[in-house]
Symmetry: C2
Subunit: 394 residues, 2 copies
């Protein structure tokens, strides 16, 4: 073990594993193949940018999980996870991105060798890191296996945050505060967007005297003007211009835990439509926060928000938030619940969401969002403290 300290106590990892095993039992799954790097990290501590090759954590019915990956990443598993090196398995390096062979052939062999191949197997069918070929390979190698869809099984166990997880998310919130402060300080007509993004990274990485920042699972989304009518454009090297709005969807990140927060800035005189949208969004945001209480559903939060929007004559049909916590690219969401009408997931204390009111018209976009914690007896707590109003600069 290196001098990297685990982000969580061994007891916390054990409790997570027990939660996952309970969920496996309820789902009738005996062995779980976990490919989502967020789930791999949450279960074992493993942390590295190795998810561009095939890897997995296997949760057997008993004993500690098994790490599976590329030989050159075994040292990373030793340095970052609590697992015993005897629980780490790798495939030959010539299996990397080689059309003639597939790492899951070796994973299947590990399952056979460990006596796990005859068990009811759960896989994350709809995950970035479990390709169709992974499934086809498992089926070919283990023709008698019963393979069940366990998409998001682990993700659901991550929904309620521990005290230590909240410590990290609060640090991430401190980071996103200084990032937005920097945006306010430096934005001006003529500043190249790439230079502004450099400032955002600078603030989020240097952080504070106490701690610095990690990379967020999504890069800063910073479109200006008409580009801000699109939800997911990044940046280029053109200058900011007077008469344009820019929204900033960014997150602070500490030890892989995220606090996303969006704000919008306008250089010059904001259009009336944007100011009207702001009024609706801010009022709707408060209504949503008030509805975001233990026992209520995700759908009720969305209804509260969209109800206010409708009052202002604004129709919007995209979802308005999702749970957040530990994550790796390409998404900082947990991909379980959604704050959308009809989502019957019940809120519980210490669930955390990116509550994400945003309006995109064909001419501009306006976003103001909060990372929130569900708490008893009060509207949801906003983890970061950043003024919600449109930032207007000359």
């Amino acid at each position: 073990m290196s001098d990297i300290t685990l982000a969580f106590s061994i007891e916390e990892y054990a409790a997570r594993l027990a939660k996952v095993r309970s969920a496996m039992e309820r789902a009738g799954i005996e062995v779980l193949v976990v490919t989502d790097p967020s789930n791999m990290g949450w279960l074992t501590g493993y942390d590295g940018w190795s998810f561009y090759v095939h890897q997995a954590v296997i949760v057997p019915p008993e004993g500690e999980p098994l790490w599976f990956g590329r030989p050159q990443d075994v040292n990373g598993a030793r340095l970052t996870s609590y697992l015993d090196p005897a629980s780490m398995f790798s495939y030959p390096d010539n299996y990397v991105q080689n059309p003639d062979v597939h790492p899951y052939q070796v994973l299947a062999k590990v399952l056979v060798d460990k006596g796990l191949a005859g068990k009811r197997l759960g896989v994350e069918m709809d995950n970035y890191y479990f390709s169709a070929k992974c499934l086809e390979t498992l089926r070919a190698e283990l023709p008698n296996a019963i393979i069940a869809d366990a998409t998001a099984l682990v993700n659901w166990q991550r929904a309620v945050k521990s005290e230590q997880e909240l410590v990290y998310m609060r640090r991430a919130a401190r980071l996103v505060e200084v990032m937005h402060q920097r945006i306010r300080d430096v934005s001006e007509h003529g500043l190249r967007k790439c230079d502004l993004v450099a400032e955002i990274y600078d603030a989020g990485l240097r952080g504070t005297d106490g701690f610095g920042g990690d990379y967020a699972a999504i890069v800063p989304l910073t479109p200006s003007g008409k580009d801000a009518s699109a939800a997911h454009l990044t940046w280029d090297d053109r200058p900011m211009r007077r008469g344009e709005g820019t929204f900033f969807e960014i997150a602070g990140c500490y030890r892989r835990y995220h606090a996303p927060l969006s704000r919008t800035l306008y250089l010059g005189e904001p259009p009336a439509g944007m100011l009207k949208a702001q009024q609706a969004v801010l009022e709707g945001l408060d209504a949503g926060l008030d509805a975001a209480r233990p026992g209520n559903t995700c759908g009720q939060v969305a209804d509260a928000f969209f109800g206010v929007l409708r009052k202002y004559g604004i129709e919007k049909d995209s979802r308005t938030g999702y749970p957040v916590g530990i994550s790796y690219p390409p998404d900082w969401g947990e991909r379980t619940m959604s704050l959308r009408p009809g989502d019957k997931s019940i809120l519980a204390e210490n669930m955390t969401f990116h509550f994400m009111p945003a309006i995109w018209t064909d001419d501009w976009g306006f976003e103001t969002s909060e990372t929130i914690r569900i708490r008893a007896g009060a509207p949801a707590e906003c983890l970061a403290d950043v003024s919600r109003e449109l930032v207007v600069k000359p």
Copy 2:
């Protein structure tokens, strides 16, 4: 169309489409569903961080490709791709990360509506963005469809770079030069790694007066000391220390085109083993560059490099490079050829690779790599100009 200019001429996009269609014909594929965001961007210009939800570009037998994605990303497709808005299709927003429905149900419907469902369909089976569930959904919706594996079919068409692509890669090389210069300038005992990474981002994003940088598909890999024995660790907020080596695997990125380049830095007196490894790696690198000529195979480049390593008594079995160009997270490689023994892919002029000699022992890591262009009648050209020697600072 916004004032974002397309990165390439309409003629270049047309030529790419024609190349892909020829490859489809050779593979007996009539309709291709492209989910790799790098392939989507290369074919249509589409550029946005929307790949965390399902999306695709469909290449029909004739006519322009179809863009398929989330409603809120249609504006992004309008602003960044050359496609006609009539060629853009979206699924309802409540299909996003909703276990009860799947976007590929809608994609299947688009195929049916366009009369493409009866065609022989190619999909990218082993791609991050084509999950097992995508395949299962297509099979359920189109039970009579013949679905073939077209993994990397488009990627292979990207191997030989156009003049304009090389312009962007050379700009990326200028960016990685300033990034490494910054590392040399600021690294010192006591500097927190997160602050150093902020400097790396600052250099790579601000770039030069002429142009700024884009985000690379992999964040800076910057492990120090024993952590550098692991290939893919990122950073934390602990300080750099005298008596430790750090390798920096980073890339400049311009308009999504990458020039990766690794170097290693040591604070204090480097261990003899690292200096010996350096000697072997530098000599092996030259041998590999000399072998990297049109008509030779990828395997021959690897053999030349590993032959020198063996002469020095160093055994290494991981691959030593891969093609690079346009890319999105989580990988800046093209996932086709590999510079590894036995890879029979034949090199051609204007192919570009990240030639990646690296040695990881159990105690440290040493990397020095180059982004190279294959050219006629000479060893491969290194796109960036950065001294290869271990950087030693007090």
